[in-house]
Each structure stands twice: as structure tokens, then as C-alpha cells.
């Protein structure tokens, strides 16, 4: 169970060394902000409940990322998630599949 403050508790991000330190993934927080964990938990819960297919979710995510990147050629992922809502011009760009050619996959 979560600490009383849950993930919205600012202490979640601040205490980085004590016994209540947030879990780290090779030195990096798994979730950079509480809303990221909330969105993650929500997507998995919706998938488990059979309300969304993961592949549909993934395709929608790819569309959003591609559109945002097409409109922000030098953008960074961190700002993608913060700015996508504030920037309508992000929509309607070229699909990201056209923007980059995935490398060939080796036959293992």
C-alpha cells in the first residue's frame, strides 16, 4: 500500500537517501512525476479490465509521438509529454513511420 500521502506526496520526490527513498532504476526514478505513474497504472488497469487492447494503445501512442515530433524536430521526450497538450500544431504532422526507417532486424 502507498504511504499516507500516496504518489501525490511531494516527499515522494524529495527523500532520496533515507529508508523511505523512492525506488531507483539505475539511479533514475522509475516515474519522473506522480502523474506519470498514475497514467501508467491507468493504462495497465484498463488493459487488464479488457477495456483497451494494448496494441491499440501502442498505436495511438505512436501516432501521438510521431505527430508531436514532426512538429518539434529538435524536441525532447520530456517536453513532449508536457507540451503536447499546449500545442495544437502538433496534430496533423507526418506519421512517424515515414519519418524514420527502422533498422533491419537481425535474425537471431
Amino acid at each position: 500500500m502507498n504511504a499516507p500521502g500516496g504518489h501525490a506526496d511531494p516527499a515522494y520526490l524529495l527523500d532520496s537517501s533515507g529508508p523511505a527513498a523512492p525506488p531507483r532504476d539505475n539511479g533514475e526514478l522509475v516515474f519522473a512525476a506522480p502523474w506519470e505513474s498514475r497514467a501508467f497504472g491507468l493504462a495497465l488497469a484498463l488493459n487488464e479490465a479488457g477495456l483497451i487492447e494494448w496494441e491499440d494503445f501502442r498505436r495511438a501512442l505512436i501516432r501521438e509521438i510521431g505527430a508531436w515530433e514532426a512538429a518539434h524536430p529538435s524536441g525532447r521526450a520530456g517536453t513532449h509529454r508536457q507540451r503536447q497538450g499546449a500545442d495544437r500544431s502538433a496534430r496533423g504532422g507526418r506519421p512517424c513511420r515515414d519519418a524514420r526507417r527502422p533498422p533491419r532486424r537481425p535474425r537471431p
Binding site: 539505475n26 484498463l46 501512442l61
Partner: protein, 196 residues
């Protein structure tokens, strides 16, 4: 979809969506919390490190791992979402694999947990394909010109994990001691495992 809701701050949007879906009984808070807690605490690169250490010390396991990553990883008890089709690629002194997801952030969760922010960064996702040697050098990994670099693209069909080269000087270490040497970055292929 372009709606007014897209302009809302992501924290508010996540909160509003969660509240609405919980209120309507479509998801429950406990299920969400459980997923979050699992990926914050129980699933992470320490799982992959155990797989690598076992492969380094047990040739038969290594063979099974390279033949069917998903099954050999499940053998160690690591299963779950995004782990359905894991392919393990073995690095050698001659061939170095590095993993990317060019379209989004596909990643083998059961063995590595959730991806780090740089893995999701547009610059990593495009540059590692175009100029892998330069990007790896920026990570601090200078590979000789004689080493072939293979960039592999993870997707929903296949998620790659790298089996790094076992470092020299680690011959006498136990499996646990070896696992402690293995880093997330080495299993993505942007680093090598340093000698103890």
C-alpha cells in the same frame, strides 16, 4: 483527436481521467496502485541481471536463453506484460548489439522494468540508428572500428535484451556477485559490463 482536453496540463488530465474511470467503476484504485508499486519496487534491471549472470555461469541455460528468450526468462520466474516475445542477443568482442524502439518505447519490462527517459528521447531513437558509434561514444562506450554494431528495433512483436560480454577477471565470482556487476545500460547495449 484534437480537443480542448488536450490542452490541459498532463497531471490534471491524468487525475481527471483516473477519477472519472474509477467513479464509473471501469477501473479500481487498488489495481492501479498495484501495477505502479510492482514496477517501482519489484520489476527492474535486477531481474535481467540475474538472467545474465545465470547465462554466464550455465552454458545450457545460455543456449536456452538465446534459443527462446521468453521461455528461459520465465524459467527464472520473470513474466508479465511486455514480456511475451523477448529475444536475447549475445554481444561478443566482434559484434555489439544496441537496442532502440524507433516508434515509441517498447522495452522488455519483466527483465528491465520500465525504460529510462533517454530511451524514450527522440534524439536517442533517431540518432542511434543513423550514427550508433557516435551515440555510444557519448554514453562513454568507445568501440573499435573492428567491432560491428547492430542496432535492433524493439516493437510489439519482439523486444530485445542484450546479453553483455562477461568481463575479464570475473571468472571466480559467484552468480550473485556477477549479477551485481550487470547494469541496465549493458542490457540495452549502451554500455559494457565493467570488470570487478
Amino acid at each position: 483527436m484534437t480537443t480542448g482536453a488536450d490542452r490541459i496540463d498532463p497531471a490534471l488530465r491524468a487525475e481527471a481521467l483516473a477519477s472519472l474511470l474509477i467513479e464509473r467503476g471501469l477501473v479500481d484504485q487498488a489495481t492501479m496502485d498495484n501495477f505502479i508499486k510492482t514496477y517501482e519496487q519489484s520489476v527492474g534491471p535486477m531481474n535481467g541481471a540475474r538472467v545474465v549472470a545465470r547465462a554466464w555461469t550455465d552454458p545450457e541455460y545460455e543456449e536456452r536463453l538465446l534459443a527462446d528468450g521468453t521461455a528461459a526468462i520465465a524459467e527464472m520466474g520473470f513474466k508479465g506484460p511486455q514480456g511475451e516475445h523477448i529475444v536475447v542477443l549475445r554481444n561478443t568482442p566482434q559484434v555489439h548489439h544496441v537496442v532502440v524502439c524507433t516508434l515509441c518505447s517498447c522495452y522488455p519490462w519483466p527483465v528491465l522494468g520500465l525504460p529510462p527517459s533517454w530511451y524514450k528521447d527522440p534524439s536517442y531513437r533517431s540518432r542511434i540508428v543513423r550514427e550508433p558509434r557516435a551515440v555510444l561514444a557519448e554514453f562513454g562506450l568507445e568501440l573499435g572500428d573492428d567491432v560491428e554494431i547492430r542496432v535492433v528495433d524493439s516493437s510489439s512483436e519482439v523486444r530485445y535484451m542484450v546479453l553483455p560480454v562477461r568481463p575479464a577477471g570475473a571468472e571466480r565470482l559467484s552468480e550473485d556477485e556477477l549479477a551485481a556487476l550487470v547494469t541496465r545500460d549493458a542490457m540495452v547495449g549502451v554500455a559494457e559490463v565493467a570488470a570487478p
